[in-house]
């Protein structure tokens, strides 16, 4: 009997998801070292409760949700839930057209890092990870309307930060 969801299969699928889980965790934590720790704990948590994963649910959404929950727990235990945000940035040097793809890429990532957490996770799930709105809303435990408005505000803010000459 080899059904689709044997633990062996799921382990393989999880391994294939690792690059995306790490990427999402980085967007969440904004720190690659924290991100890998969070992914590791999320994997352990997932393996321990694999029976709770519904076969018809997307494994990526389920894992993103666990990653996020691990991070929320971690912030709670650090006692700095809420304002982990580094405040207004010294964005003095924004404005010139990017020199090359690399600068472009870093500008996008840096603009993302300046979004409030709620908007950043919404943008990250939909634009970076490619989840449908409905899946992203489930990961974040919010109604789809809330997801949509966070996404719209996040994208508007990104647009403003990335528009050339609009820095002042």
């Amino acid at each position: 009997m080899n059904t689709n969801g044997t633990p062996e299969n799921v382990r393989e699928e999880l391994a294939a998801l690792l690059p995306r889980l790490r990427r999402f965790a980085r967007n969440l934590t904004r720190n690659p070292h924290d991100a890998d720790d969070v992914v590791q704990m999320a994997l352990e948590r997932a393996l321990a409760k694999l029976d709770q994963w519904r076969r018809d649910a997307r494994l990526d959404s389920w894992m993103f949700k666990i990653v996020r929950n691990v991070w929320i727990d971690e912030l709670r235990s650090r006692g700095r839930r809420g304002k982990i945000f580094t405040g207004p940035e010294a964005g003095e040097n924004v404005g010139d057209s990017p020199l090359d793809r690399e600068t472009d890429l870093l500008s996008v990532q840096s603009a993302m890092a300046r979004l409030p957490e709620e908007q950043r996770t919404a943008v990250s799930l939909v634009l970076v990870e490619g989840l449908p709105y409905k899946e992203a809303a489930e990961v974040l435990d919010v109604p789809i309307g809330t997801l949509t408005s966070r996404l719209a505000r996040g994208r508007e803010a990104l647009q403003a930060m990335l528009a050339p000459g609009d820095a002042g």
Partner: protein, 240 residues
Amino acid sequence: MSIADETLMAYADGELDASARTAVEAAMRADPEIARRIAQYREQQEKVRAAYEPELAERVPDRLLAVLRARGSAGRSRRPQSVGSRWRYALAASVVVAIGLAIFAWQRPVLMQERGGALVASGELANGLSDSLSGDPSAGDVRIRVSFLAKSGEYCRTFTLRESAGLACRRGDRWLIHDLTQLAEAGQQPDAGASQSGGYRTASSLLPPAILSAVQAQIVGDPLDRAGEQSARGAGWRPR
């Protein structure tokens, strides 16, 4: 007829049902501004997606794969004591020195030297870091890529040097090499996703993901533009 931005965004993301889609398409034909805004959403989507694509090509650390290989659902792997334990940074530093010495120790003229447990730029590399602006054609093999202000308060710059790429930060009157990786090695990593770029072989392609993520972890605000680099260089790369 005016259509809410959220609806246009949902249209661009393929999230509308058939009837709402038809309505947006009609409005789009009637009003070029609506078409422009939808195009803007799509362009942004592509830009953001592209900015995060190189990360998928990074090698996954063994400790994460080990969790999945461990038998028994409790997972008997080395569990992180807490998120972000400090020792890893120290370890990383010594690895950089080891790699740097392995790659560059036998080269003449000397481009990097070990000073008190850290790897320091010298010769042509130090000159390039101090004098060149990003993207400038430079004498020799050193190319400066991106400059930025780091969370440590130091100015840092990425560079490529023959087959290697690295990240150096200015401390006092020295450039400390924080990260170093071989371009050829990075190019051999499996290329995940739909990337057409085919690795990182040439100076015109992206820096290796390891270096980019090191930058991402360190950067405050945006990379310096040309004027920012000139003023930082004028101040001897000392933070304001």
